[in-house]
Subunit: 254 residues, 2 copies
Amino acid sequence: MTENNKIGRYTFLAEPFHCDSSGKLSMGYMGNTLLNCADFHSKSRGFGMTYLHDHNCTWVLSRFAIEMYEMPAQYDRFEVETWVENVYRLFTDRNFAIYNAAGTIIGYGRSVWAMIDVTTRKPLDLLALHSGSITDYICDHPCPMDKPSRIKLREGQEVGRYVARYSDIDINGHVNSIKYIDHILDLFPLDYHLSRKVTRFEMAYVAETYCGETLTFYREETAPQTFDIEVKKEETLICRSRVCFSDQTTNNEQ
Amino acid sequence: MTENNKIGRYTFLAEPFHCDSSGKLSMGYMGNTLLNCADFHSKSRGFGMTYLHDHNCTWVLSRFAIEMYEMPAQYDRFEVETWVENVYRLFTDRNFAIYNAAGTIIGYGRSVWAMIDVTTRKPLDLLALHSGSITDYICDHPCPMDKPSRIKLREGQEVGRYVARYSDIDINGHVNSIKYIDHILDLFPLDYHLSRKVTRFEMAYVAETYCGETLTFYREETAPQTFDIEVKKEETLICRSRVCFSDQTTNNEQ
């Protein structure tokens, strides 16, 4: 298998209802799009729903980081490449590159996944699955963005609460991975968003939230325009996040 | 132009993140999909963004009704047809038919649109635009669902409040049309949704909501499992809605 065959490439349109007040695709929808690509790509390579269902196992997203130089504007076409960077016993690293319609790279993504047994909720040995064939898909392809950070708040301030509702809940009965991105970005006022763009967004998923449960959001500005966030359900940590903004006028395109 | 040429037909996939706790596409995303089709179809027929921008006008959704016999399940492909049923001086009726992958009709939609001048916010005479060419697209195609209802609460009870946030706001600076659908369905507990399906959903859009404004939701059960809803911003009516549920076990497919 050549390196090129190991890379999935998918085309999308930035739909108006998926864009925010700036008219650009929201970070939540970019996340949604990347996770769809992960799903399409693993499915077409033997690790899709049928395999998972027959083996009573499922992929679990552990970490997710997205870095964007320029977000697609509404009605823009964009392309996403995804590939497997590494496979360890308990985790696999899947990366992403995002291209604008002109073929210029406008962002990257990194994700870390585990596979668990649906009944026991215990992680499975990825190297033992499918006769270890997952390693055939490891691909050497550049992803020049930092790996997901270690996020730990020292002096987090409570900045918001949210009760999980019907529209947050997926087929597994818990708040879906993308909704946390929206809820975290909603901690910042519209005016703050309008004069800035999100250049890097990170999530570390720890525990699940069910409908009706109250999430409390703690935030600390650890560097100018860089915020570390912890989301808790009473004393239980649900997820951690880091959001890096830059001024809209800053030109940090590659 | 033949009748068939007047009908747009588009294919979609029910993405997992767009499905609700039942594993079926949420009504909000079905609405999103139909509005995208309206957009694609009007764009390819001379009333798209370029025309609107050059003429300083925009389409405004006034009424929207969706009736579903069966919602696509996650990973299902489905198709949407859309066509213009009528054009009046101030409004145009655009209809939709939704097909499952086997080609069976699983739902219908009706929408009513006005075109306004962006500066004055006044409605424009549709029959005078583009030399009246919009009437060329009128098409006789079946849409066997009731027209949007007159919704008027007699004894509405306050059932919820919601403060509009960053993720609700579109490029025009107000809460996007689809978000109201999610917020209205969030008035019903998860258990209520899990044992039922939404068979008909209606929206009548009246006024706009801006970020930070508080919406108050009033509800009245006007028939068994049929709810009329008014959404207000203080004393100002923002929109009205009707939601009809049926038991999941009821077989009301065509």
